[in-house]
Subunit: 326 residues, 2 copies
């Protein structure tokens, strides 16, 4: 199948790697809003084109993978490109998913295309695990923990503080809270009890470090509800020790069965990811395979991971899956 | 939806509880090979019938849940009943799944019914996790661990030993092996390195305990490849401390992404179950909902968990799922 990448940031580069790791896929083109000459890709057989030329590739690309940001890019890009291509995105503003779904669904369905929104791990694999576990254990309780990993939004928030040159924030689940859930204690947990936040900050020369630390720790929405630690380090240390983009987390459902709910069960799904964008990209690429197949069966309109039978994700046949993976 | 239970052992009783916990389901009838008068069920609105009368219920049951054993019951029962009803079973002889699938598929498809085989947790939820994780991380390694939990087959094997009155066997994953996998070390593990086996044995009066212990520990296929511990206890202790049927386990996939596979990832799915049959039943009942819906859409033939889009498992609508669970 022929794939296009629309937007070449961290996620777009991850998609390129994931395509390389899947033999049934070929990268045809990368589209960028930057000057194409300034964008170096790793795939020798593919080329970089201006974003505005994407529509010339109609009929030459089986699935266009849209790698823009959720805040402003995807709400515009996905509906627009769904008129031209089968598309997939990783839209992750949970509260706005219904609205995004409706727009993309209309664009895709009217033009005979298929689209899949919100692929990745949260939304994505975490959502799937919530759905499966809720369907199996209707009497129960859900818990989601994130980390240990880099939160892009919180790192950005640190970098906006006066006197901060650079910074990175790790979200860390509280071990005792994890264990209470894992042991089936069904704890009621406050925001503060679930996660801590650890910040590595490079201050500008002569900056007031005490003021920076105070401003970070008291920042509403981002830090004030958490136990936050701030470490001041050199730019060099930041670059050598904190240049990665690891992430991960846990989805739990604890629930009961039996005539009188006398038996307890714990379902746990955990991810430990060295590279958040590359793992997200790997999920997206598997779903790109799925929607390409579904489109070949005549399916159109917008889908989510909830709507895709798992067998469509695998390059193996039904016979092979039943024989080796069931 | 109206549900029938065919076979009323541990699994059948678990199905009855799971139906009670799902408001959109109603138990219509339980079918048994025993004398129906000797079978007491808990649902006041349902009745017990002889297995031979099942066919009279054609058209009155949306899904028949078949609760026989995989060795001899299901290979005969599922194809036969798939001619009359939409059916679901928990066939768990992995090696014979393709053969079972073919027979059930033919019976169901010819008669306009839908069937789903091998629902539960392994096969079932563990299989799904293997499939998702393999599709996401094509470069990687799979690990499955079982336990801590009661193995019915191994407990039966103990009870066949001369001088043994009763017994129970627990399969226990080796903690250091789990941790090596979880840490991304990609270990090569022998059978002995993955699990230990712990046996609680009630000896007959005057039995040779040393001989029993030796026979258990040296039993080929069941125990000889494992580090096995044998404890002799009283019947009373067995009944008070070991009457449950807990189980569970872990499915891992460790894999890499990146242009040079430079980033590692660990996907872990874990179950801790107080009651193996009740959890299995809870999975089956969710899939019974799914196949009933698919049948209402005109789908026929045999399916597995790989073929079912997750949204079909939930009583919630697509809108609700996208708004609250994605």
């Amino acid at each position: 199948m022929k794939v296009g990448i629309y937007g070449y940031g961290n996620l777009g580069r991850g998609i390129e790697c994931a395509i390389k790791n899947n033999n049934d896929m070929e990268l045809v083109a990368v589209f960028t809003r930057r000057d194409p000459k300034s964008v170096k890709i790793q795939t020798e057989t593919a080329k970089v084109y201006p974003a505005g030329e994407a529509e010339k590739f109609q009929g030459k690309i089986d699935v266009m993978i849209i790698c823009g940001g959720s805040a402003t890019d995807l709400p515009e890009q996905t509906p627009r490109l769904a008129k031209l291509f089968n598309v997939i995105d990783s839209f992750d503003t949970h509260a706005r998913i219904p609205e995004h779904f409706a727009k993309v669904n209309e664009a895709a369905a009217k033009n005979g295309n298929i689209a899949l929104i919100s692929a990745g791990w949260d939304p994505g694999m975490f959502s799937l695990n919530r759905l499966y576990a809720n369907s199996i254990l209707p009497n129960g309780k859900d818990y989601t923990f994130w980390g240990k990993g880099v939160s892009q939004g919180h790192s950005d928030a640190i970098r906006r503080v006066k006197g901060v040159k650079n910074g990175k924030q790790y979200t860390i689940p509280v071990e005792s809270a994890l264990n209470a859930v894992r042991n089936g204690e069904n704890p009621e947990l406050t925001t503060r009890e679930k996660h801590t936040r650890e910040c590595f900050v490079v201050a500008e020369d002569g900056a007031d470090k005490a003021a920076i630390e105070k401003e970070i720790k008291e920042m509403p929405n981002y830090f004030s509800d958490y136990d936050t630690t701030v470490h001041f380090i050199s730019e060099e240390e930041l670059n050598t020790k904190h240049s990665g983009i690891p992430h991960g987390g846990f989805v739990f459902r604890t629930g009961s069965t039996g005539w009188n709910n006398e038996h307890k069960h714990v379902i746990e799904y955990r991810l430990q990811l060295d590279s958040n964008p590359e793992f997200t990209a790997s999920v997206i690429v598997a779903y790109a395979r799925a929607i390409n197949r579904l489109h070949n069966e005549g399916i159109t309109g917008c889908k989510t991971v909830f709507d895709i039978a798992p067998a469509y994700l695998s390059p193996l046949s039904g016979d092979e899956l039943r024989a080796h993976m069931l």
